[in-house]
Subunit: 209 residues, 2 copies
Amino acid sequence: MKTQQTAEGGARPAGRPRSEKAERSIIEATLELLGEGIGVSELSIESIAGRAGVGKTTIYRRWSNKEDLVVDALATLKPPIPLPQGGTVRDDLVTYLRVIQEESRHHRTRCIMNIAMSDSERHPRLTERFRELAVEPRRAVVAAVLHRGMKTGELRADLDVDMALALLSGAMIWLTKWSHSGDYQPDLPERIVDEALKGFRPRPVTAEA
Amino acid sequence: MKTQQTAEGGARPAGRPRSEKAERSIIEATLELLGEGIGVSELSIESIAGRAGVGKTTIYRRWSNKEDLVVDALATLKPPIPLPQGGTVRDDLVTYLRVIQEESRHHRTRCIMNIAMSDSERHPRLTERFRELAVEPRRAVVAAVLHRGMKTGELRADLDVDMALALLSGAMIWLTKWSHSGDYQPDLPERIVDEALKGFRPRPVTAEA
DNA sequence: TGATTATGAAACGGTCCTGTTGCGTATCGG
DNA sequence: CCGATACGCAACAGGACCGTTTCATAATCA
């Protein structure tokens, strides 16, 4: 994914090798700045170089443009929290939403998410990268949980998995963004899941809670 | 909401009055540029002046900073489409989601929405303004539809209205943004509403469709 | 050692924008 | 008519950043 690569295999190209430390500093500085609310378009190479304690030359030598750098920076984000996957389907879904909620409270995650959400027009590659790194893995995990529920009978057998994921995730994001009381509501995940489950459950439901 | 105002009441302050036409041109140019994907931070007074066929002075005379201008520009956006409110609750909800879907296909609306969604950290006033202008009116309309359904028995009597709105709107936005096939899916509103309704309906449901 | 490449720092000319000022003209009230 | 204010336009100094180049220094290989 690097824009310019030198060593490839065993043949070292002679001369001083590129500093891995500098590379890490650059990417870390990039993520820091993005995490502080700087948008991609305002992000300047000079500010990154300054933050990383690195000459501009060192950056330009490795990435030919800003977007490539940001793409590589996003690539270093680990897919965080693989979800417990232990209890009932309801519990797993609540846990999933709680992770989203918790992340949206941290500056860094929230800003990076904003970038992915907003810059899809001008930076489609960033959005696609974010989808691969953050959205898709979670979609897969939640889809597995839902399928498990459909097998055990805890959920409708004809449930539309993608639709269910959209309802849950979308509601969480919507409420976090537009809830009149922007406060932190610890019971939000439970409320969303319970409200949604009434549609996910098989029709002949009898008991509640 | 204007930053600097002169005339106030009957006493005109003497001299040539400010051109209403210029003012409209400025705001229109601002909305145009935002609609073309320019972010708030990249939006320059010079580009607005150029687009509007106006001197920079004319802009600086009225607004002391860019954010005030954008706020005023957003304020001119009409709350579009008051929703038919005629048929069944299901039909009204489908119509509501169809409006969202249709808007998200138009550049202008989508870009302005992106601004509201993304710049909430750095431009809280813009986000708040957008909430007042775009989110809240619709929330009210949909809430009325839902309450009607709760009275007629088409919906559960203990439905959480805000949660229902979040599930519907959130799912629509989520799918529009992250759906693997980014194509236009005309049946999306129906699918979302029908999937959600299974949770909105009163429990002792018997027949389907 | 010497050839080679990378590094941080600094300086470069260039672009774009800022917010202000001056200018000649246009439009109001009196 | 006059005074006052707004208009579009051009110019200004100042700043941020671009992408490139130069330079002395550092790290690696043969």
